[in-house]
Symmetry: C2
Subunit: 224 residues, 2 copies
DNA sequence: GTCGTGTCTTTTGTATTCAATCTTTGATAA
DNA sequence: TTATCAAAGATTGAATACAAAAGACACGAC
């Protein structure tokens, strides 16, 4: 009975949302590459729907910063220049600092446990070759922190900023030599929360983010 | 939907963008009130277009945080709770600090002149009874700063955060007793830029923003 | 009274159609 | 060969049509 209900709930998702999620995933995972045209008919055929939900999904992607449309010429997957990256990182640096400060003050014990579990999952993932899993567990770790900040608006904005750069981050995570460092940083973060040391946390988050800059920058340079 | 909505036909913009701008303005100016339903047919008739561009515009408003839609029940103008306001202000505080820091480092002489002109325009406006003009010149003053930060991504995010609370801000600006204070704060800001004193600027911006909190909070309480 | 139940209306969701605009292609002329 | 331009095709923009769901309301059973 309850299974039926949840199943119905899934059926209740409007197609535009299904399409939006599908396209969003495809963009984030690199299946749709930066600069690639998003042609309505083409996508509609591939997904087996009409153009209407495709168009609405594109409007949503647009506002997320994942697609750019030129009137009467169509939409394409958003490209990032190095300047764009720098700009987003500047913002994320400020928002991460806020998030970690809030989280430090507001994190519950349950969330702290969750954080340690996420840490373990990430550590386990780095011992496999599954890059996608590594990325996902890393994101999940940070999700716990952002969620603990208990500010949904902040969470939204950070997620949107993350999305814009995460497509360029695979290269960084693919390189096993950085795992040790990432794990160490995550451990420091946990320690910071344990001691409720805001200043230390701010510093670590700052380092943690800036370590990604060059990697992502190279990845962007490769995009022709 | 008490006011008459009219489309400003910029011939080259797609209708969805014209509709989006029209609805956005109407929401920000309070013509469409928080919680008010956005019925497609009604809006379409009012604006003399079909449902298609209305629907696309609603998808855009949604991502801006100005509208909320429940699947198969329709969209409504987003309401803010006190918690929402607090969350947005927390974010804006961090972003304003970043913006003012960047602007302090990057502001050109031309932009400084522009800032002083915007200051004057605001001062002039406070001597009239035109609340809308006062709000607009105040926003323009801050626009100069945000633009001087030379970070379009930051500008976008701040604008989106501003939009979410500006509809609740009229009450604050309506009260002439705060003009003197606002002018004084704006003057301090200009002084800060003149001296390139980042710390002073951060402090002023923080004060400037927190002064608005109670006013907006009251305005939100009044919304039933 | 109130709780369902079925019907009718309203509204949203999606597909389809028609119109406008852009792109491509290919023929022609300099 | 290259530049130009017109026609054809492809693609987007907007309106209309049709389907499905939600809401309103009357009616009857309990």
């Amino acid at each position: 009975m309850t299974e039926n209900l949840t199943l119905q709930m899934d059926e209740y998702l409007p197609l535009r949302d299904v399409v939006f999620n599908t396209l969003r995933e495809a963009i984030l995972k690199g299946e749709l590459k930066p600069g690639e045209r998003l042609m309505e008919m083409h996508l509609a055929n591939r997904l087996g729907v009409s153009r209407t939900p495709i168009r609405e999904a594109i409007r949503m992607l647009e506002q997320e910063g994942l697609a750019v449309t030129i009137p009467r010429k169509g939409a394409q997957v958003a490209k990032m220049t190095e300047k764009d990256l720098q700009d987003v990182l500047e913002v994320r640096d400020a928002l991460d600092e806020l998030a970690v400060t809030c989280a430090c003050r507001r994190m519950t014990n349950e969330q702290f446990v969750e954080l340690k579990e996420a840490m373990k999952a990430f550590e386990d993932a780095t011992r496999t070759d599954d890059v996608r899993k590594i990325v996902e567990t890393d994101e999940a770790f940070h999700d716990v922190i952002y969620h603990a900040a208990a500010n949904p608006k902040l969470e939204n904005i950070i997620n949107s900023a993350r999305e814009q750069m995460y497509r360029y981050r695979y290269e960084y995570v693919k390189n096993p030599s950085v795992y040790a460092q990432l794990i160490a940083e995550h451990k420091s973060i946990i320690e910071g929360f344990d001691k409720r040391d805001e200043e230390a946390l701010k510093a670590i988050m700052h380092t943690h983010l800036s370590n990604q800059i060059n990697a992502v920058r190279n990845s962007i340079r490769e995009q022709v």
